[in-house]
Symmetry: C2
Subunit: 205 residues, 2 copies
């Protein structure tokens, strides 16, 4: 099958979420134009994205909400549960542990790690905090899809190396540093300072 771009993937996740609401509202069909209005994208963009996954719609009618949701989920998510481990249980780490948007999206944080002895053993929002030393072992006993870095910047690279060594293939990094990782690892940096500055620059222009 054709490679699906990361931009398409982000939009498809929005479609899935939107379709979920529509199904809950009891809506059976939806047109690309309606989806466009809700998501603030264009109808053509949406049809192009959906066409990656086959011919799902009915001309003159639109898409069956449940069917479209199932098709998109099947191609994009595939697994029933995406398993995440978190490094760093500071303010940001706690915010991530308590983030409400995960449940519906099949995202599950299966373990957290921290250096601070006082935090080790505690349970935050149902997730147990382990020591860094036990990370490799814990990860190997679980099937983990994503490692999240929420530690201070000076520890970022060390944690990244640990995640790579554990065999995890996806990293989300919140530490404001450029991390080195092999090309085979998919690394996403979320740097709050950069996001804020970039909104400021755009808004001003």
């Amino acid at each position: 099958m054709k490679k699906i771009s990361s931009k398409t993937i982000s939009r498809v996740i929005v479609y899935i979420r939107t379709l979920e609401s529509l199904v809950l509202e009891g809506k059976n069909t939806v047109s690309s134009r309606e989806l466009a209005r809700i998501t603030d994208l264009t109808d053509v963009q949406i049809r192009k994205d959906i066409s990656n996954f086959g011919k799902v719609g009915t001309p003159r009618v639109g898409y069956n909400t449940t069917e479209l949701k199932n098709v998109l989920e099947k191609f994009i998510l595939r697994k029933n549960e995406i398993r995440i481990v978190l490094f760093g249980v500071g303010n940001l780490g706690k915010a991530i542990l308590r983030y409400a948007g995960f449940g519906k999206q099949k995202l599950q944080i299966v373990a957290a790690f921290d250096r601070d002895k006082k935090k080790i053993g505690k349970v935050v929002n149902g997730v147990k905090v382990h020591s860094f030393e036990t990370a490799l072992e814990v990860i190997r006993n679980n099937t983990v899809d994503i490692g999240v870095i929420a530690v201070p910047e000076e520890k970022g690279q060390e944690v990244a190396d640990l995640i790579v060594a554990s065999g995890i293939k996806g990293i989300v990094n919140f530490a404001p540093v450029s991390l080195r990782a092999p090309k085979s690892i998919h690394l996403r940096n979320i740097d709050l300072a950069i996001e804020f500055l970039s909104v400021y620059c755009d808004a001003r222009a």
Copy 2:
């Protein structure tokens, strides 16, 4: 001057940060190739980006670190301080208030707002928490560049409307909802679930 794309802006912010470290290390000049190695970009990309701001480098020598940093800051940041207000002092809001990466980048959170009476009046990391009702007034008495939405998703649109009404032109939204805002407002959505899923999908492909 030519319009500078938002992708370029994000990269330039990384250059500025990198140059800051280099200046601190006492390094006087740097080549595009060295910057490329540090930032994990290509040297041509870096030279193209820099060329938006004039001819700053010296063939055979490279760029003067301090000069380049000043030029980039002058074009991109312009102001001495970028002023931010935060809506929602929950876990994520607190994480943002305590985020270490802001000081150096001239980002300053000038006020926070929350609905919870128990939080109003408190000071978190030097920032005072006000009631929602006083937001318009507080914002009008300050010059505010960016409003940050860190409230539960059902309150997201309401807060967005309030920010728009206050005259602020840039919004960073962490609530997992599609917000409506006039085209003149620059809105950036940071949806953790989407970021995580998208890393998972890419990593799997």
